[in-house]
């Protein structure tokens, strides 16, 4: 059984997509593990965009990670080093 409240996750994804629609893009959830690991894919005009790592760290990961039952967030085709991820992550408030 999934540990993630899927309707709540889907709602959060829809809220993120409202912002990403400004560029004609969106994310799709492609997998949610029992342990709460969420995997997404960039789609629409974001599919081939070189800014994916920045959008991931400034918008997608903070937005989805804010849900208590989400353990990790990853995206297909966006895999960068931890050093860079820390450098570009949204500052903690």
């Amino acid at each position: 059984m999934e540990s993630v409240d899927r309707p709540r996750l889907d709602e959060r994804v829809a809220l993120v997509n409202r912002l990403m629609a400004a560029h004609g893009g969106r994310i799709d959830v492609i997998n949610v593990s029992d342990a709460g690991d969420v995997q997404v894919r960039f789609a629409g005009l974001c599919g081939g965009c070189a800014m994916k790592p920045l959008t991931m760290e400034s918008l997608v990961r903070p937005a989805l990670s804010a849900l208590d039952d989400v353990a990790t967030v990853g995206a297909l085709g966006v895999r960068i080093s931890e050093e860079v991820r820390e450098r570009i992550a949204l500052p903690q408030r």
Partner: protein, 341 residues
């Protein structure tokens, strides 16, 4: 301004942070969902909205999306002016109006004409030519678009039958700045070759009095972009997200910018943030100001040192020339505004 350098953001697409004009399908009519959205904004935008009095309502700062975008772009970041535009992306879950993205950007530009220039956008594929021509005329005559951006997915910019009438229409309406999205295909609905920039050469040659602005000089088709921009003096490059990429791939960005400076020169390169979806654009402006090419690359590949003058051109002076902005006069006018404006 950053370090006394004027900043004109050549690629801004504002976001509607408000809850106006929503379709009946939108889940944002639900107060709980609306609260979740506002909390998301608070997290992303560094406290731009005051949540202390929030009770399933909309705080004052949120009632005007224009004010929120202004705060983000011009107060939280060192940006002085912006070329603002979008595309008619079609109806969505949140909005029935297929032109809504265009209208949001127009509204913002119209609200702050001293800082914004509105650029239109068209993706005509799937519609007949009359549709595209009518859309161009509407954006220029009714919305005051000073440029037109094209997204050549599924069609080619050098198609004499399909594309040239669009450029002629722009020219007849007094719009001489044509912008193009290249080198970044979308998802699986696009073939990569759709974004090959070779199609811009013929129109740049056949419409020499017009300025062609290519967006996204990226690794994909970079060599071709370099060759094209270096040979056609009426082609400019909006280097988005190139300087943003310096935060992720600094070494690669040095090589790409080095080649652009080497072959195209500093006079036709333009900074663009693609803001404001991800919030504060300060670090992107700073990335330009801090940008350097390593000594080993300069020695090994002949890339020039990036000068202060180069950065001032990239940050503002080049795009100012394209759009006829008097930067000195603007600098004075904005400085004379009340503090906080």
């Amino acid at each position: 301004m950053i370090d006394d350098a004027f900043v004109i953001d050549g690629a801004v697409h504002v976001v509607d942070w408000s809850f106006d004009h929503l379709s009946s399908r939108s889940r944002l009519h639900d107060p709980e969902t609306r609260l979740a959205e506002l909390e998301l904004y608070d997290r992303l935008l560094g406290g731009i909205f005051d949540f202390t009095e929030l009770e399933h309502g909309v705080p004052d700062a949120m009632t005007g999306s224009e004010e929120a975008n202004y705060e983000l772009l011009f107060k939280q970041s060192p940006t002085d002016m912006a070329i603002v535009g979008s595309l008619a992306f079609g109806p969505s879950d949140e909005y029935d109006d297929p032109d809504y993205s265009l209208k949001i950007n127009h509204r913002f530009a119209a609200a702050y004409p001293d800082r914004c220039i509105f650029g239109g956008g068209i993706q005509p594929w799937g519609q007949d030519l009359d549709y595209a021509l009518d859309k161009i005329e509407w954006q220029v005559r009714e919305l005051g678009a000073q440029s037109m951006k094209f997204y050549p997915f599924h069609w080619h910019a050098d198609d004499v039958e399909y594309a040239y009438p669009l450029y002629e229409k722009c020219r007849s309406l007094g719009v001489k700045i044509l912008q193009f999205h290249y080198c970044q295909p979308g998802d699986t609905t696009h073939n990569v070759e759709m974004q090959r920039p070779i199609g811009i050469q013929a129109p740049a040659r056949d419409f020499p009095e017009m300025t062609f602005v290519m967006h996204h000089p990226m690794p994909l088709y970079f060599e071709e972009t370099l060759s094209i921009a270096s040979r056609f003096p009426n082609i400019y490059l909006v280097c988005s997200p190139l300087f943003q990429l310096s935060l992720v791939k600094p070494r690669l960005t040095q090589e790409l910018v080095g080649q652009l400076l080497q072959w195209v020169g500093p006079d036709r390169l333009v900074y663009g943030s693609e803001g404001a979806m991800g919030g504060n654009t300060t670090r992107y402006v700073q990335a330009v100001m801090d940008f350097e090419i390593s000594e080993d690359l300069r020695k090994g590949y002949g890339y020039p040192e990036v000068t202060r003058e180069d950065k001032e051109k990239i940050l503002a002076l080049n795009i100012a020339r394209v759009f006829g902005i008097d930067v000195d006069a603007k600098r004075e006018a904005l400085a004379a505004q009340p503090s906080g404006a």
